[in-house]
């Protein structure tokens, strides 16, 4: 069977090989998992159960239940984001669907989309699947992996049509301050870029407040913000996300969404509604626990003499392993049964780093860090 060129152009995921290696081993401690180790708050789960018991198993409005959109509109005001639930919010099947739909809505064949790197592995394939051309914009450790005006200019992002942005960032854990974002906004306005801002880790910001680029002057009309319930509410498997944007952007995205997904899962929408209404304390509790683990991991890397970027958001540490990251990760897995993800799978600038997820219980984390220390000492 003939496979479409744009699919053939995307190689299999770089993490696939490590997944298979890790699966071969029986007693692996995995620090390679990009999802919370907590379960969704019980109140959210009971809301999902209740919705099923009541037989609420039909499609909802394409854009999502109005009650949920209204709640989302209230919720995002904590980030100074002000969106109309009727015109400017689309509920999607995870933030991943929002990303896919946005790429298809805003990228024409041949359009260039700037993607800062290292970053989440789905952005570049998302651009390619939409027929666009990804343009890698490396970020640098000396700038704390924040995206700068110079990074964009040097990579030729001024000729791109759109910019993909993700802060707090997977895999580095980097965040961007308001002033740093202002420089990016200035570049976007100067070069008339559409900005797709994945802010799924916004609630997991440990130092400072999360700033959305959409709140900066001249940005609201050119930005679509993605968020969802997977990370903050530990609801990965329920697949629920949302997009915020100006009416014409949401209308365009909904046109694709209504013909492909129709509507996000109804059960998950009820869980999300309850999560927003009553699970704020659980989010804070989970964030506090991640924060303690973050400090623990950073402190342990410091003790081992492994240079580690001080992540301020998400739940990843991004140490420099001082050489071939794929080989380091593979040997660590073979010798010490600890699975981590090599930084190079996250694109340019990730080489020589490892992504360590601390979304793992502290006891396991402690054992894993001891094993990494033994491995580093033995090299």
């Amino acid at each position: 069977m003939r496979i479409a060129d744009r699919v053939e152009r995307v190689p299999p995921s770089g993490i696939r090989r490590f997944f298979e290696l890790a699966e071969e081993k029986e007693e692996v401690i995995s620090l390679g998992v990009g999802e919370p180790d907590f379960s969704a708050p019980w109140a959210a789960r009971t809301a999902a159960i209740d919705s099923l018991e009541r037989g609420r198993t039909s499609y909802t409005a394409n854009r999502g239940m109005r009650e949920l959109r209204t709640e989302i509109a209230d919720h995002v005001q904590r980030y100074d984001l002000d969106y109309d639930p009727d015109e400017e919010i689309l509920v999607t099947t995870g933030a991943s669907e929002a990303l896919d739909v946005a790429m298809r809505a805003f990228v024409d064949p041949g359009d260039r989309v700037a993607v800062h790197q290292p970053s989440y592995i789905s952005y570049v394939p998302g651009v390619v699947f939409a027929g666009g051309q990804p343009l890698a914009v490396p970020t640098r450790p000396e700038n704390d992996f924040a995206l700068t005006y110079e990074d964009l200019a040097n990579a030729g992002a001024g000729d791109a049509e759109a910019l993909m942005l993700c802060y707090p960032n997977n895999p580095t854990g980097a965040t961007m301050s308001r002033s740093e974002l202002e420089a990016v906004a200035e570049f976007a306005v100067e070069h008339d870029l559409t900005v797709l801002s994945d802010e799924i880790y916004a609630a997991l910001t440990y130092e400072g407040e999360h700033t959305s680029i959409a709140t900066l002057p001249g940005m609201r009309e050119r930005t679509v913000v993605f968020n969802g319930f997977s990370k903050a509410y530990a609801m990965t498997g329920l697949r629920l996300g949302y997009a915020l944007g100006p009416p014409e952007a949401i209308r365009a995205m909904n046109r694709i969404h209504q013909y492909s997904m129709l509507s996000a899962p109804t059960t998950a929408q009820y869980a999300a509604l309850e999560a927003l209404q009553s699970c704020g304390d659980e989010v804070v509790e989970m964030r506090d626990q991640y924060d303690r683990r973050r400090r623990f991991v950073l402190s342990r890397f410091d003790e081992m003499g492994l240079d580690c970027f001080e992540a301020r958001g998400a739940f990843y540490a991004f140490p420099h392993c001082g050489g071939d990251d794929e080989r380091f990760a593979e040997e660590l897995l073979r010798q010490e049964d600890v699975a981590v993800v090599p930084g190079s799978v996250f694109g340019v600038g990730g080489e020589g780093h490892l992504r360590i997820s601390y979304a793992t219980g502290l006891d396991e984390l402690r054992t894993a860090m001891n094993r990494i220390e033994r491995f580093v000492d033995g090299r």
Partner: protein, 162 residues
């Protein structure tokens, strides 16, 4: 959250954490962590450290009971006087004055139902101020101090994911 409160939260979830681990998680130095713990103990905030035990997993009998206790006060005797007398028995695991239909809730632990019954009949009921006891034997414990006693869930997430 202040330092003392943060240390307290960590000790509540695992009292066996050592000072080094607590320091690494909180970003405090070890001396500060030790000072916090010392002050929590000295101020009587932390009264002790105990394991949370699922007795049903041991091969020996262990019986727990919750006693509802009603008392009658007089001019010379208050709740505190009665509580002092009851709390001294080693069989009494906890003693609380509560609002509602009865005055004290008493948790008793013993090696057998007979032990517990005899203790209530011979030591608690005869206290002059005690007017009524109702004994509830614990048949199964599902959750204790925030810890569920069910089977532990396996981590069935993908070992590597984006």
């Amino acid at each position: 959250m202040d330092d003392r409160r943060e240390i307290l939260e960590l000790l509540l979830s695992n009292a066996r954490e050592d000072t080094t681990d607590l320091a690494q998680q909180t970003g405090l130095d070890e001396a500060t962590v030790e000072e916090c713990i010392d002050s929590l103990e000295a101020d009587g905030v932390v009264r002790g450290y105990q394991a949370i035990v699922d007795w049903s997993r041991l091969d020996e009998e262990h019986v727990q009971a919750e006693i509802e206790l009603n008392v009658e006060l007089d001019r010379e005797t208050g709740y505190d006087d009665i509580s002092r007398r009851i709390a001294k028995f080693p069989q009494v695991a906890s003693l609380r004055l509560i609002s509602g239909d009865y005055d004290f809730a008493v948790s008793i632990e013993g090696d057998s139902m007979h032990d517990v019954s005899r203790f209530v009949a011979e030591q608690i009921a005869p206290i002059p101020e005690v007017t009524q006891t109702v004994t509830h034997f614990v048949m199964e414990t599902y959750k204790e101090r925030g810890v569920s006693f069910g089977e532990k869930d396996d981590d069935d997430r993908l070992s590597i994911s984006p």
